[in-house]
Symmetry: C2
């Protein structure tokens, strides 16, 4: 990549999309990347920096003074990207950058954006937007839009506000194109635009934009004053991150792991779940230990330990995954009792089918009838209990405002392992009279 | 919900967003839902139908004749939604609807859209777009745009084509607003717009739109003729579906399950993975059976069966999840050998840490030193092997064009269970001299 890149003329690079340049920089050595960025036009360099991985960006920004960040980068970025970039700096550097911004209104605007906590609408929003007063006529609107559009890279939507800057609705480009220039805006705009408040949860914003097929969502304060807008590309990132987080939980990773992270970073992301598994394994060992006598009478009981443990784990993860997804999409859930009752039905049906198969297979493979029946009865019980636990735990976590996705992954597997084995050996000691 | 709804006046309903009405219809009885749709204006009813669940839509459409679908629904929908709706009908009904469409050009256009296979750019695209000729001047452009915009609900982007309808680039609203009306378009448009071909994979389209932060993506045929556009809201659905599918695989569900699906539907989605688990469990039983003699000499070996099985499974799922995500995001992966070598390092580090803990804990809990060492050595081996398998299998599946996400979920857990137990008992029979 680097060899091919050396041949590229700088002019061509400035015409290349920032996302493509960022991919190249990501593959280069840190020093080569810095040189490349240095050679680019300021605006392009700023765009490339935003596309880079956070760690790499931090390393590159070490070379920039507060003044350079303010004039070369912040001035060339949309306010939401600029705020994200500043947010990643140390508090001291943040103050340095904000003080180096010439335009006091811009500096104040950025400082305001920095206040919103992560994962809120405010943290996602940018302040660049085109707005018109509902008393204007179409012609004045077009003039005003021309003036405002000078400073804005993409015009997604035109907002209509009253004299107090309260959001009234949106003006479609189509209406603007097809209406006489003398028509007052008040007559042609679409009222009651969807909007979100700055402190709303980012995932709720994503869901609303998805539901209403919106490309840009206006953000208001608690008094309905228009203060910014969120574009769909930032929301797509929220959706991806959310999905990735759930997937990571389900597969036992506690933090985001890239395939090219170091051995140590990867280990750190994986070890917590493994330790839970370890503790669970010791717990299972102690459960089996309590039935050492039974086991010594019917050693073949040990054969089916993995089966019981695996089935309990699998069913538990399935049940909780269904609940986690339902909670995430805010689907109607019905009462807890009804849910558990239904899960009981699913568990019984699954358990029954699996048990019949296991009895048939065990007898075919030449295990004793008594052992086969023990395994079958234990299997139904374990599947039902695992289904109920898998349903109950994520709902419980959600009730106490803990991410229900935590319930999938090794956590529920481990619990069900221990419980399942206890059930298995208890039934075994009863049925086998061991 | 139904009670509150009865009080709504029809006029209010026609002003309500289709997505909100669809949620209400979803909660009503089928008959009540049909009545409600019947009372809505045709355009609103069409929009609501598109928002409904596919099963429910099919039931409601049974009452519509081909002619009604053509005039009341298809005419009021964007071409991509209309094509989706027609696609869900039987072939006979599809022909009926297409023959009932008055405008032969519209009918031809829809028939063309029906050809594209699912999960291609063509299946996602709509044909409504605004395009201008590069030889026109700004004034003529605005006039043409006004004319074209009459038939189009949202104008996302203005495409610039040559006389042969080949895509040249895009014209930004900003440029249009800020340029003199006499300027030729050829001088102000942005060249080399990103585009996709109709047969490109939908997930690749999603990745490209995400990467380049696009809101709308033009679709061309293999000769670069502009034939349609894909909007980001359809791509967001692709991203959600993709994430959901991976998540379902990882949690052992073979099809999409909603929390309000019937017991039987849910069982059907869950049973295949459980059967794999069952077969795996029987496999594990037969592995342990081969070491029955060793087990009868050192019955305490049975205590650690769940621990070994669980750790093998957890590590395998973690490793494969990292690969699955890297493959999905097309991150640079490096050579297979390098990857496996790195995974070996991660496995050794994780295995070593876990083994040290297990030795300490086992001795503390009063297990024999020999057994503790057996478990520890087996644990390192199992963790390393599981990490390698978890890395190798999804890469192998991907190479043979099988969805690598299949590798997560119970499949890899089961394989690792069996292999892990074999390693454990082999080491046990060597170290314990049993």
């Amino acid at each position: 990549v680097i060899a091919g890149n050396a041949e590229l003329h700088l002019e061509e690079l400035n015409d290349t999309h920032a996302a493509d340049i960022a991919e190249v920089v990501d593959q280069m050595s840190l020093e080569a990347g810095k040189l490349l960025l240095h050679d680019l036009e300021d605006e392009k360099a700023a765009d490339v920096l935003i596309e880079l991985d956070e760690d790499l960006r931090a390393k590159i920004l070490e070379d920039y003074s507060g003044l350079e960040i303010a004039t070369e980068l912040v001035d060339n970025l949309d306010s939401d990207d600029a705020a994200d970039l500043i947010n990643e700096l140390s508090e001291e550097r943040q103050r340095e950058v904000l003080n180096s911004i010439e335009d006091p209104i811009q500096a104040k605007g950025l400082a305001d954006l920095l206040i919103y906590p992560e994962n809120t609408a405010g943290a996602l929003m940018g302040t660049e937007l085109v707005k018109v007063n509902h008393n204007w006529r179409v012609l004045q609107c077009v003039k005003e839009m021309r003036r405002q559009a000078e400073d804005i890279e993409h015009v997604h939507s035109v907002y209509v506000v009253d004299d107090a800057n309260k959001l009234l609705g949106t003006l479609s480009l189509k209406k603007l194109l097809t209406t006489s220039t003398k028509t007052p805006i008040g007559e042609v705009f679409t009222k009651n635009a969807q909007s979100v408040e700055a402190m709303d949860d980012a995932e709720d914003v994503a869901r609303a934009m998805e539901k209403y097929d919106l490309i840009v969502m206006p953000v208001v304060d608690s008094l309905n004053h228009l203060i910014g807008r969120i574009t769909i590309d930032d929301v797509v990132d929220v959706i991806r991150d959310e999905a990735k987080e759930d997937y990571n939980f389900a597969s036992g990773l506690v933090e985001d792991v890239e395939s090219d992270d170091s051995v140590w970073t990867t280990t750190r992301a994986r070890l917590p779940w493994l330790l839970i598994g370890l503790v669970g394994g010791l717990g299972a060992a102690s459960v089996i230990g309590r039935f050492e006598l039974e086991l010594s009478h019917v050693p073949k009981m040990a054969f089916f330990i993995p089966l019981i443990a695996a089935m309990g784990g699998n069913v538990g993860v399935q049940s909780s995954a269904i609940i986690v997804q339902a909670l995430a999409s805010k689907s109607p859930m019905g009462s807890l009792l009804k849910r558990l009752f239904k899960e009981l039905g699913v568990g019984l049906l699954n358990g029954l089918i699996c048990s019949l198969i296991i009895v048939g297979a065990s007898l075919f493979l030449g295990y004793e009838t008594k052992l086969a029946i023990t395994v079958a009865v234990a299997l139904i019980s374990v599947v039902v209990v695992a289904a109920l636990i898998g349903t109950f735990v994520p709902l419980l976590l959600d009730k106490y405002k803990i991410d229900p996705a935590l319930a999938t992954g090794p956590f529920i597997t481990t619990t069900n392992d221990i419980l399942g084995l206890f059930i298995y050996f208890t039934i075994g000691s009863l049925l086998l009279g061991a």
